[in-house]
Amino acid sequence: MGGRTLYDKIWDEHVVRAEPDGTTLLYIDRHLVHEVTSPQAFEGLRLAGRRPWRPQAILAVPDHNVPTTDRSRGIDDPVSRVQVETLDRNCREFGITEFAMDDPRQGIVHVIGPEQGFTLPGMTIVCGDSHTSTHGAFGALAFGIGTSEVEHVLATQCLLTRKSRNMRARFTGALPPGVYAKDLALALIGRIGTAGGTGCALEFAGEAVEGLSMEGRMTLCNMAIEAGARAGLVAVDETTIRYLEGRPLAPKGALWERAVEAWRGLVSDPDAVFDREVEIDVSALEPQVTWGTSPEMVVGVSGRVPDPADEPDPVRRGDMERALAYMGLEPGTPMAEIAVDRVFIGSCTNARIEDLRAAAAVVRGRRVARSVRQALVVPGSGLVKRQAEAEGLDRIFRAAGFEWREPGCSMCLAMNADRLGPGERCASTSNRNFEGRQGAGGRTHLVSPAMAAAAAVAGRFVDVRELLEAA
């Protein structure tokens, strides 16, 4: 037998039963649940008279609908309120642990899983949310599922599925200062497109990935789905193990030692064969900014808005023309001349403590430009918020004119009150620049937290390295 990939190894360990045609009953170790994609699944369970197979394997949290301002009054929007209350009620009825809206540990589902040690290497992890790929940073197989599958995992602790193909993205060279995991992800998507990883489990490897912190790896794996790959993965190493030691739900004592020994094998074998490989040299990579309505519509900050006339493929040309019309941009405009109305630092992609530190380092001693209507910082969880406050980051942001908010998904998808108005342009650390994603008619440019901070200060996109050098 030839070498196995990291994905092969985790897959093999979780097969309960495999049919000759490849249909596989796959065991699921952990199930994260939020309020948006679960109500119909719980209702289905109730209608069929079923109970969750293993409630202890589930952790629930409301994140999409929660207000990021004062929560003592509850949720103003009655429709949002019902959805959050429905989650509370379902968790009570079925004996599921929930970090409710007023819990200090509440936060974005993909931030709190790793933070608590709920996410561990070698696990299969699912959630009714496409950004579940985030947890693959720990050498886990983690992917988003629809509500029917949420109900299926609730009822059986398994999924009926088929194996994906293996793909590997190698980032060679060392990441330059001022360039971050977010830039790696955007550069990759710019290269392979938003369907580049479709049908694949996408492992990230290479010197630049080995050098990333766990938080950087989470950013990278988070964006795997924007490259079309349901799951992103990074091999386990000392960085992984150091991050997990002492987390509330991580194993302790002798069990910890035993687990670590097993986890060290969670790497792709040297002779493992990938169905598809892509390699990107990052040593000269510059900060990335999207210009369109798909994450693949991206250029370096020194670049210009591309011209659809240069695109030979008619379908792509049409998409580019529509994107530019929606974004209100002219071909050839330097990215550094594009002014922003709002800045959003947050989301499951970039709202962890290192993201806030990177943004604060740019903001320190500076002011949000007068022309910027609003600059928001929304920490990924209550614990991230507390840590940032202990480090004084909130004071840096507030002094510069940023709003310092309560944790949640917020303006990443604008299901709560945080949103763009029609035509407003936003520098955002989130993951999707789709039409209307941050509010109907809103225009999203995806960037790293440092680049978002730089845009807030300059009032337009600017190479953050200029500000870092000046500091």
Partner: protein, 214 residues
């Protein structure tokens, strides 16, 4: 799930690539805790000129006359013809519920995003992958021919044009059976409950840290 066998229906062409689930059903409608009623908000941002609210009656809302589904010739379409990477983005099954609630039974495209593809199969919406050049020909035929229909035959795994031209498509045999019989995945899986329990017992010994509840 409603069984699927074959559909002959009017085809509506949605001529853009990477149609994401945020476009298929915008986020404000995800606040619903129901599974039904999403059809009137399908492609809301493209279909209407105003910004919709959940629970809103759409009868009086201003329609975007340029959007394909608002053109009278495509009224009653049950087959959606699309481009590459249809259904990319979020895992929201509401996207599939909106398409089926509107009346679509089939989406034909050169490629689909993985999560959307799986969600569709679990709700009796048949996603059909055809080669890009075939899809291109179908786009030209649909646009040139008012009232253009196709027949999508699942048992035969073939799309048939009015002229009798046949385009075969692939589908996972297990998923095909589930669609034909309208089978519920959970019922199938629970037939193997003993195997799941045996797996858990073995894993509790091999990797006890995965079972802190043990």
């Amino acid at each position: 799930m409603e069984p699927f066998e074959r559909v002959t229906g009017l085809v509506a062409p949605l001529d853009r690539a990477n149609v994401d689930t945020d476009q298929i059903i915008p986020k404000q409608y995800l606040k619903s805790i129901e599974r039904t009623g999403f059809g009137r908000y399908l492609f809301d941002g493209w279909r209407y000129l105003d910004e919709g609210r959940p629970g809103q009656d759409c009868a009086g809302r201003p329609l975007n006359p340029d959007f394909v589904l608002n053109q009278p010739r495509y009224r009653g379409a049950t087959i959606l013809l699309a481009r590459d990477n249809f259904g990319c983005g979020s895992s929201r099954e509401h996207a599939v519920w909106a398409l089926t609630d509107y009346g679509f039974r089939v989406v034909i495209a050169p490629s689909f995003a993985d999560i959307f593809y799986g969600n569709a199969l679990k709700n009796g919406l048949l996603p059909v992958r055809l080669p890009a050049e075939v899809v291109e020909r179908l786009f030209r035929a649909v646009e040139a021919t008012p009232g253009y229909t196709l027949t999508v035959d699942l048992p035969e795994q073939v799309v048939v044009t009015p002229e009798g031209e046949r385009f075969p498509f692939e589908i996972d045999p297990f998923r095909k059976q589930c669609l034909l019989e309208g089978l519920d995945d959970i019922g199938i899986t629970l037939r193997h409950a003993d195997e799941i329990r045996a797996y858990e017992a073995r894993r509790r010994r091999e990797a006890p840290w995965l079972f802190p509840d043990a």
